[in-house]
């Protein structure tokens, strides 16, 4: 037991209910010292008063004022879940019926998909025929355009001639078209200046 009065930090140790080697002598001193005992009781009374301090309420409409500045954002997954929930029937029998219908529907879908995979060769054949038709149509259209631009003799010469001949013909065509474009621009510029 110690022969002096408790210091404030020692009073705090006792208030916090600390346990330990150094606390036992403090407790023993409090039991024998009326002054320290009274001081500890007053400190406990203060803690009780602090613990029972009331909360204060903000003014009416505080929550509304806060909410007016809060951006309530619904993430896409939550929105999707909400939408899906709208389709769930309210009553139990309706839910069972809907579940049954969904099971039958998904069963039919699975069977259809399985059949389609098993018959993949038919799909490939149909796709091949479709591609051939598209290629034919594109070739015919290109030939029509070339005939219109070069004329039948030009096209025949291109198809019948050598690679060098074809390149010369295409180069000549591009040069003529280029000169035409340059000439037209020059004409347009001079007429704009004249105005």
């Amino acid at each position: 037991m110690q022969d002096r009065h408790l210091r404030p930090d020692e009073i705090e140790l006792l208030l916090d209910g600390e346990e330990g080697f150094g606390v036992a002598p403090l407790r023993a001193h409090v039991r024998s010292c009326a002054s320290c005992h009274a001081e500890l009781e007053e400190a406990r009374a203060l803690l009780l008063a602090l613990d029972t301090l009331p909360d204060f309420a903000p003014s009416v409409g505080f929550a509304d004022r806060v909410m007016s500045q809060v951006q309530v954002f619904e993430p896409w997954h939550a929105a999707a879940l909400t939408t899906a929930r709208q389709f769930v029937p309210a009553t139990r029998p309706a839910r069972i019926a809907a579940g049954f219908a969904a099971a039958v529907g998904s069963g039919l879908l699975t069977a259809g998909a399985t059949w389609a995979v098993a018959r993949a060769d038919i799909g490939f054949l149909l796709a091949q025929v479709g591609l051939d038709r598209v290629r034919e149509q594109a070739g015919a259209a290109a030939s029509d355009v070339a005939t219109t631009v070069l004329g039948q003799p030009g096209l025949d010469a291109m198809l019948g001639g050598s690679a060098g001949m074809t390149a010369a013909a295409v180069g000549g065509f591009v040069a003529v078209v280029g000169m035409g474009v340059v000439g037209l621009r020059a004409l347009a510029t001079s007429s704009r200046r004249a105005r």
Partner: protein, 200 residues
């Protein structure tokens, strides 16, 4: 979606999860649960009802607009009190800077303007104190708390009014545990000294 009565029975973590899913009722429930504790903390920090409402509102808006950033490993209330305390401390720091120019606004150009701005500030503070002490807080303990340093005040409020553990307070205020204990012990010692005349 639970109705308001059901929401009131859910733990904070569940209500926060609903708020993160964009449920407005969940946001309102969080405000309903914590408007009084947060307002009380801020009010006791700044000692001005109107200002405390504005600062509490700021704290709630900050927290609720960033609810998606909330990490469930911490208590929601600790996060909220941390923001509220920071808002109040920031205000007190700004006000401390303002009080340097208490004898006149730095923007005042004439002697009369300087005098007018100085008087306005004094009047405002005086009326706030009067209102606080006579109508709102009144008691000797409240007055003694109001005279504590803001850091001590926040610790005492969280420990005794909100019933938080030392560890929670340390996490809430971003302070070492030892510092929190020291602050609370010193604050209680100062309160005891301040209340001594009442006992005599």
């Amino acid at each position: 979606m639970p109705n308001p009565d059901e929401l009131a029975t859910l733990p904070d973590a569940d209500v926060v999860r609903l708020a993160q899913q964009g449920r407005e009722l969940a946001f309102r429930e969080l405000v309903r649960r914590y408007e009084r504790p947060v307002f009380s903390l801020v009010f006791r920090m700044v000692r001005d009802r109107e200002l405390a409402e504005d600062l509490s509102q700021d704290a709630f808006v900050k927290v609720l607009n960033h609810i998606d950033r909330y990490s469930p490993e911490f208590k929601f209330s600790s996060w909220l009190f941390k923001i509220a305390n920071n808002v109040a401390i920031d205000h007190l720091r700004r006000r401390r800077i303002d009080t340097i120019s208490m004898h006149g606004s730095p923007h005042a150009s004439t002697a009369s303007e300087i005098e007018a701005s100085a008087l306005n500030l004094e009047d405002e503070q005086e009326s706030a104190l009067d209102e606080l002490e006579s109508k709102e807080l009144g008691s000797a303990i409240e007055r003694a708390i109001a005279r504590l340093r803001p850091e001590y005040r926040a610790c005492i409020m969280l420990r005794h009014v909100e019933g938080r553990s030392y560890e929670e307070i340390a996490a809430t205020l971003d302070l070492p545990l030892g510092t929190v204990k020291t602050y609370i012990h010193r604050a209680r010692h100062e309160l005891r000294k301040a209340l001594e005349p009442l006992r005599e």
